[in-house]
């Protein structure tokens, strides 16, 4: 069912079944075009469910793709284009959220869990060493000899 929901929503949104990047959008300068494609993958089509404007065939995504290309052709840097879109649509347009106080937990979460887990593993390893050290203390040299005698005897 999981995917069905997106699929269902996509169809509703994309009534004219066009493909994402349309032939007439492509600009002639290949370097600019590939920058536009890379940028498009980072930008969200705001009326779609979790789709980049590069993937979406919604009219809004088309408008945004054209807008990105216009600004790139006007000589703006990638960052300037992104800043412009964020100023216009808010941070919601970014598929990779900016690092700030309200996304700190998001960006640090995975590393934090890894570190906590690694700490747990270290504790486990220390416990093993401590137990082993304790075990070794309990066996005297004479006991060890006897034990090896018994073991050898058992084999024969």
């Amino acid at each position: 069912m999981r995917r069905l929901l997106i699929v269902a929503l996509l169809t509703l949104l994309a009534v004219p079944t066009a493909i994402a990047v349309e032939p007439d959008e492509i600009i002639s300068d290949p370097a600019l075009e590939s920058r536009a494609r890379a940028l498009s993958k980072e930008l969200r089509c705001m009326v779609c469910q979790n789709q980049s404007i590069d993937d979406s065939d919604a009219p809004l995504a088309h408008d945004l793709r054209v807008l990105v290309r216009e600004r790139l052709q006007a000589g703006e840097s990638d960052q300037q284009v992104i800043d412009f879109l964020v100023a216009r649509y808010g941070e919601f347009v970014l598929l990779r959220p900016r690092f700030s106080w309200h996304t700190a937990l998001l960006w640090f979460g995975p590393a934090t869990i890894l570190i906590i887990g690694a700490f747990g593993v270290l504790v486990l390893a220390r416990r093993y060493r401590a137990t082993r050290a304790a075990e070794q203390e309990t066996l005297t040299a004479a006991e060890a000899d006897r034990l090896s005698d018994i073991l050898r005897g058992g084999r024969q």
Binding site: L10, I19, R44, F92, V93, L95, P110, I113
Partner: protein, 660 residues
Amino acid sequence: MIAEFGHYALVLAFALALVQASVPLAGARKNDPVLMAVAGPTALAQFCFIAFAFAALIICYVRSDFSVLNVFENSHSAKPLVYKLTGVWGNHEGSMLLWVFILSIFGALVALFGANLPARLKANVLAVQSSIAAAFLLFILITSNPFLRIPEAPFEGRDLNPVLQDPGLAIHPPLLYVGYVGLSISFSFAIAALIDGRIDAAWARWVRPWTLLAWIFLTLGIAMGSYWAYYTLGWGGWWFWDPVENASLVPWLAATALLHSALVMEKRDALKVWTILLALLTFSFSLIGTFLVRSGVLTSVHAFANDPTRGVFILGILALFIGGSLALFALRAPMLKQGGLFAPVSREGALVLNNLFLVSACATVFIGTVYPLALEALTGDKISVGAPFFNATFAPLFIPLLVVVPFGPLLAWKRGDLLGVAQRLVGAAAVAVIAVAVVFAMEGGGPILVPFAIGLALYVMAGALTEIVERTGLLRVPLATAFARAEGLPRSAWGAAFAHFGLGITLLGVIGETQWSLERIAELRPGQSISIRRYDLQFDGMATRQGPNYRDLAAHFTVRRHGDIVGVMEPAKRNFPSRATATSQTALMTRGVSQLYLSLGDANPDGSLAVRLYYKPLVLLIWFGALVMAIGGVLSLSDRRLRVGAPKPARSKAALSPAE
């Protein structure tokens, strides 16, 4: 009347579920065998009633009984029979019914095959299992009744969403649900152990095969869904880091971790408390996935707030089962006996590392999925977390895991020899180095990470074979001897080798598709052609075809390679008059493990046609690898020690055969 019978059967199943959730529990407390014995028959009866309700809904669909609201909204008399059947779970109410139906199958299986379980454990497990069933049956009866009637029956139904009229719907949801719901068994076993305050040997023996079974289905379900999206959505993507997909990936990662930690518990009696916690978390993630998808919260937090009945109900179920189970864990875990110890460098140690990385990866996906929802609910800030975030955080956690994978099966239990294992992996490392060099030479200036990624994939694959090659003595002893030994190897060793090999295959496919895909976007008139790699596709013209309940407008392309015709591709626009909607049917041509992928855009008034063409190298390996992983799971499941009740060391046939 059949709908009313179905509805009534659900009510009876709910009543039985309440009995099953309480009486055996009381019996286990009082040590009353009669009360405990109630669990088995009620589990079977509950299964029968839910099966009856499910069959009733199927009959309503097959008969196109549009007086039933659910059938009216999701079916059409002209729809082919197979989509009438699959349409049963192509909607919210029906899919929830499928969910509890599968839950009741698992309950019945425990009742049937649990004869060798201690009576108290069995009673507790079935009681917990039934409490989940009771909660979801109540959810269906109150908020999602599929048997509601319309007072004046319409003549025709509204039809199933055309995108869902695909064979994928027949396979994907049932597979995924068996996976999701199958994880409830290890959850129920974990709760039962906590209730009893002890983990006995039977517990360890039961958890792994059941988790394995759920994992196999989850693996296949996710892979199938991924392929379905790939050929349906029309832009060639196979994984979108969509919350709906993540909702299935998170339990898969957790279940994979659980499989490995359960191995340590079963073989070495260690990591018991952790395994219990992981079993609880894994099913909790399943439940959260159900909540995310079924509550409507993903579409928009506001949509959820406007019609909160379903969402709040599932949220209540979540709070009850996740909160309750974790509270029980906090209460009882200190009482459980810690298991055996092991050196950091050992098979156990490697499996702990596996768990560390898998659980971190799982947490990453989980945080990324729920963070925007939580942030919006708490502060009103709207942010998006999409593919760029997940690619940037998931990969760094998965790469170290892939480096460790081949070490695991080669290390000895309890105390291993890291240097020795590294020496045995020299062959695999050599394969990787050669691959890096070859790819580097071929690429000549592409992204530097690509050759290393290919090298890593081949290292994982070669590493997976290392154990098999060593244990059979292949290349050292006569072939016949090696075969005899191969036959005698425990199935679980084969299972691990297959699963790890499959992981490498999938990785290879992922790299090939993401790094070497080619794309052409063009507008073509009849007679014009478009070329990609060594293929030329000539657009011959358009034709219409009439289907049972749709009309295709298909474009005919002749595909040539070096001038020789290799086939035709016919992507189409499919119009469904019943819903006045159209879908785009992509055309795929498989060449080895690579594919040509063609989808249609708009036709222009001047007769030209917009097309999107891809060459996707190695793309089929993504799903083929998942299939190999699942085969590994099946092999492992068929291992003797899982089929026989007691964990006896498997005596290899080869050791007894005269060939030795």
